[in-house]
Amino acid sequence: MPDPSSGTRKWGMVIDLDRCNGCEACVVACRVENNVAVAGADECGKGRQAYWIRVERYWHGEFPNVRASFMPILCQQCQNAPCEPVCPVYASYHDRAEQVNAQIYNRCIGTRYCANNCPYYVRFFNWFDYWFDPVVPTINVAYTNPMRMGLNLDPRRNQLNPDVTVRSRGVMEKCTFCIQRIRRARLDVIKQGGFQSADGIEHVKVPDGAVQPACVQTCPTGALVFGDLSDPESAVSKLATSERRFRLLEELGTEPVVIYLKELRP
């Protein structure tokens, strides 16, 4: 069996701002897919809410002639990411296989340096344990089976996605381009024997459109498109060449792979 992470690819996303109507369905979908915690009203008031994708809303003009514009912002998966070199323990690192910026929760020690050095503010710290069950605050809670401890489990735990870690307090988290979906798709390709063999190395290639992050899947207006930027035939590559394209805070040289499309209005 080939290494599921083999092959070359460069995942990317195109966000068409002219199509976004700010409905925030992507925010909800992401929260459900990735077990993003609900911090509660008090914590939101203190700026501790987490949303791996958010819709920033900006107002134009003076009342009553105002117009809102929306900008969904998720981790830009920079190819030259400022958060990566500053992490002292490689919890934030560049996953060479997926060309995506990874965050490994169980390696993270919570220096919060990466979040400071992220110009897009897309890294979220777990200020508390937001688990459904009243887990005894042991330090290595991950190894303790609550069932064996005789605790009554909160039924809400069944809504959690088993493919995604439920983060404990003290670690940083962020958008992963739904890596669990990408990896599942890749395993499916292998299972069906659909991997290519080039120069003796087996490459696993996921067909265009076979993977969609939760936000892309749920976007009702189709403003979000996801795919492989290294494949010139993919939908995302074609959209990325649009003359409406720009990248957020491009002047910082972070080389994001999230590409925004916006028509300049007079």
């Binding site: 914590e43 203190k46 700026g47 501790r48 920033e56 809303r57 900006y58 912002i73 400022p82 070199p85 500053v86 992490c87 002292p88 323990v89 490689y90 690192y93 390696r107 993270c108 020690i109 919570g110 220096t111 919060r112 340096y113 979040a115 400071n116 050095n117 992220c118 110009p119 897009y120 503010y121 979220f124 710290f125 777990n126 200020w127 508390f128 344990d129 605050p137 330090i139 404990s168 307090r169 003290g170 670690v171 940083m172 805070l249 910082l252």
Partner: protein
């Protein structure tokens, strides 16, 4: 205040400098108890924070680093001058250094110890802190040597070890003095610490040679430590105003400045507390005051160059952060900083009468108030008002942060007081050596004070 050095008999020196080791006064015991209470409250708050999560502190998104990191920079900055001033003055063979060195070196060790706590305190999962240490393991995982935090870890542990040794080495002869004059448990402690020192010529030669190497080596270490602390900020591109080339020298200058101010504060307290009027004289305070005066100018020069460049550059995000600092919600801190760090010291320390009186003591305290504000202003505004205004948010510390920070202040004072209870705060042998080398000679009919040098 006494100006000229007086000759004091060896017996009197022993008596004066070991006075602090005798039975403590009631006030001393009460102060220790009070400090223990503050420390205890801080420890309880810290355990509470570890068990419940960092959310009990006031930090938020985007101000992920708050008062903890400001205090970290502050403490590491304070640590700077002790070893540095002692090494520089030893290196330049300034005679007036003799009563200062020990107290300054001890200050360095205890401030670094307090500063080194902060990276642990502010860690989200402190029980995994060892991930940052390069230990080979079966998983093949190493720390990221590109990260300034790893440099920090290396630099601070090196500096702590170095300054601990640099404090201990010149203490060995004094330990022998105490060993010969104490009984019971104390005698055992001093016997252990004096390493069998007898005071032979060869031992002195070894000591001086080792010190000679040490004070040269410790200088670059000291400079590197605060440069690396500054690079924690300067290597980050995202928060406006952090990514600045001037940060390393600016931090070093600020560190020397605040550390010197603390040395002055401590020297005044030692003089008053232990009646060292014959040792800590106008000479010392005068010279230290002049250095403070100079450092206030240098500090302002660095701050001004940085701010002016940002102001004229008008890069939107950076300019906005600077505007928020100077005219926005951070105005009180900014005013305090400029007043305490530049205006007051610059206006007063030029006068000898200020430097050598209790006013100098007050000014030295004010400088560190200003420096704390400066550390705060370096860390917070760049985070609070970043590049995407949608995410702007202000920051206010909670009682948890304040309690923990107060505990480290109490911890420092406690450690220092306990140090003076067990070790002479002024090096006995250095004072005696100074007296041996000093004499008044007849030069062409004029009586001149002279110093003999040992080679």
């Amino acid at each position: 205040m006494r100006e000229e050095p007086v000759h004091i008999s060896d017996a009197q020196i022993n008596e004066d400098l070991t006075r602090s080791l005798r039975r403590p006064s009631l006030l001393f015991v009460l102060v220790i108890l009070a400090l223990l209470v503050v420390l205890g409250v801080g420890v309880i708050l810290y355990v509470y924070m570890v068990l419940s999560g960092m959310g009990v502190a006031g930090i938020n998104r985007p101000v992920q680093w708050g008062l903890f990191i400001a205090s970290f920079v502050f403490w590491i900055g304070l640590s700077h001058s002790g070893t540095l001033i002692s090494a520089i003055l030893r290196l330049t063979q300034a005679e007036w250094r003799r009563p200062i060195t020990r107290g300054a070196e001890a200050m360095t060790v205890f401030t670094v110890a307090m500063g080194a706590l902060y990276p642990l305190i502010h860690l989200g999962r402190v029980w995994k802190f060892y991930y940052i240490i390069p230990i080979p393991d079966g998983r093949g995982l190493w720390p990221n040597f590109r990260s300034p935090l790893v440099w920090d870890f290396m630099a601070i542990t090196t500096y702590l070890t170095g300054s601990l040794l640099y404090l201990y080495l010149p203490m060995v002869p004094d330990m022998a003095v105490l060993r010969d004059r104490s009984t019971g448990l104390r005698r055992q402690l001093y016997t252990l610490l004096s390493l069998g020192w007898r005071g032979t010529e060869q031992e002195w030669r070894h000591l001086h040679r080792t010190l000679g190497v040490f004070m040269v080596v410790i200088l670059p270490v000291a400079v590197s430590v605060h440069s690396i602390v500054s690079w924690d900020f300067a290597m980050a591109i995202a928060p406006p105003t952090w990514h600045s080339t001037i940060f390393a020298p600016y931090f070093v200058a600020g560190a020397i400045y605040s550390g010197l101010a603390l040395v002055v504060t401590i020297m005044w307290l030692l003089r008053w507390g232990f009646h060292l009027e014959n040792y800590l004289r106008a000479d010392q305070f005068n010279n230290l005051g002049k250095m403070l005066f100079m450092m206030s100018i240098i500090w302002f020069y660095f701050w001004f160059s940085d701010a002016l460049t940002t102001w004229y550059g008008r890069v939107p995000a950076e300019f906005e952060t600077l505007r928020q600092t100077i005219l926005g919600p951070f105005l009180p801190f900014f005013v305090t900083m400029i007043l305490c760090n530049f205006v007051i010291p610059f206006a007063t320390l030029g006068f000898r009468r200020v430097r050598t009186t209790a006013v100098g003591f007050v000014v030295s305290l004010l400088i560190n108030v200003g420096m704390y504000c400066e550390r705060f202003l370096i860390v917070v505004p760049g985070l609070a008002h970043g590049r995407l205004p949608f995410n702007w948010r202000d920051y206010a510390p909670t009682y948890v942060e304040i309690g923990i920070i107060a505990a480290t202040f109490a911890g420092f004072i406690l450690l220092y007081l306990l140090f003076t209870r067990f070790f002479p705060a002024v090096a006995i042998w250095e004072i005696k050596e100074g007296q041996l080398l000093r004499s008044t000679r007849d030069v062409a009919g004029v009586k001149l004070p002279t110093i003999t040098r040992t080679e």
